[in-house]
């Protein structure tokens, strides 16, 4: 009935070798919540399926001695939510990942898959961008790293070279007084795709923003880092003038499309609103108020 091969290598080296040997005819399987749907509707016809869930590095969440985190590409949203520490340090990243799909989907879907799917509306990506996550990639020429915001290349496309596999995410150590948040606009309360999504990560010192990063989703062909919005926040006490300037920078960064989920005008306006609200939540978390 089929000539598809299924492989579940126990090591990353074997996965990279098998992926390279398939010369583009293979697909990586983590949670399968995108791949199996694509196979069913005929959008994907892989010759080889390489299941990466037997590779410990790709299914583990570890906190390093300095307080940074490693999140393997195939870790499920449910597994990440069960981690005793991750959600305390990165509540915004966790809430973004846990917004993806249903309870059932959370049992399988991974932040690595969310990133590799290449959707500009991927919920976890703006939060990862705000967090300053760095991705590790393995391929026939060894390993390399890049900031997560450099990974997407356009709708459905990534900057992975031929034969390369996403291994996981490194989130930096968190200075005291830090907090993050992710908000998305959807017309329902659950189980929907972002019209706009904004992730904000702040470090506060004495009520003043010492460091900030802003990630913006579903508002351009790729998820964006918005340095101008971050600059408007740094040095402020999140007063109205700073928030308005950051919100304006967020809107200015938007290059959205008109589609059934939202118009260009609407998305551009909502990006500003979400920036203000997410910054307020991140600041409360940074200062232990939430």
């Amino acid at each position: 009935m089929t000539d598809i091969r299924y492989l579940a290598p126990p090591t990353l080296d074997e996965a990279v070798s098998a992926f390279a040997a398939a010369q583009g005819a293979a697909r990586i399987l983590a949670g399968g919540t995108d791949l199996l749907v694509q196979m069913r509707n005929g959008m994907a016809r892989p010759g080889t399926i390489i299941d990466i869930k037997k590779i410990p590095e790709m299914t583990s969440v570890t906190e390093s001695a300095d307080g940074g985190f490693w999140v393997g590409a195939a870790v499920s949203g449910a597994a990440l939510a069960e981690h005793p520490r991750f959600g305390k340090v990165w509540p915004g990243v966790l809430e973004a990942i846990n917004l993806i799909g249903s309870t059932q989907v959370q049992g399988r879907a991974s932040p690595g898959g969310n990133l590799c799917h290449g959707s500009p509306a991927a919920d976890s990506v703006p939060a990862m961008v705000a967090a300053g996550a760095v991705v590790t990639i393995a391929g026939p020429n060894g390993r390399r790293t890049m900031p997560v915001e450099a990974f997407p290349a356009g709708p459905g496309r990534t900057n992975l070279a031929a034969g390369e596999i996403l291994v996981g995410f490194t989130l930096p150590a968190r200075p005291a007084g830090s907090g993050d948040a992710y908000l998305r606009m959807i017309p329902r309360t659950e189980m929907d795709i972002a019209v706009v999504g904004v992730g904000v990560s702040l470090t506060m010192a004495g009520g003043v923003v010492a460091a900030a990063r802003v990630g913006l989703g579903a508002a351009a062909p790729t998820v964006l880092l918005v340095p101008d919005a971050a600059r408007a926040l740094v040095g402020s006490k999140l007063d109205d003038a700073a928030l308005n300037a950051a919100a304006a920078a967020c809107s200015a960064a938007c290059k959205p499309i008109d589609d059934k989920r939202g118009t260009i005008v609407y998305r551009t306006k909502v990006a500003a609103v979400l920036l203000k609200r997410a910054a307020a939540i991140a600041a409360d978390r940074a200062q232990g108020k939430a």
């Binding site: 579940a8 949670g31 196979m39 069913r40 299941d51 249903s102 059932q104």
Partner: protein, 159 residues
Amino acid sequence: MAKLHVTTTINGEPTEFLCDPSQSMLDVLRNTLGLTGSKEGCGTGDCGACSITLDGRLTCSCLVLAAEVGGHEINTIEGMAQGDELHPLQQKFLEMAALQCGICTPGVLMAARALLEKNPDPTETEVRFWLAGNLCRCTGYDKIVRAVLETAAEMRSAA
């Protein structure tokens, strides 16, 4: 291409089957193993009618390859009642008429059980969010949600 030989545990029973590499676990459950309690609604992970647990974690069996489950533990709706004794959720769904056509019911029950194992005292909001991936086109959900809350209360007082 040769079929894959998979050894797994289903509802506590060691189980072996042969499958194609691209076959879903739902397909194998229903068409190879004769476990037809898990239903195919959408086949794309949206409706939850095929919900199972894989190593204790709720998932849609249509989004799992059968080839993946070797060495893992699966629970399906067939394992929910103990012989003739229904699970409290099943009993309460009958008493409170929390179903109409019944297609979504196995998935709803599997999801509700997973919720109560994790959270024995959920709020109505928590029940509604947890079950958001189980689509029912008949009941309007209110009876389902009330039955889950009522079962949770009974199971707490019995514990």
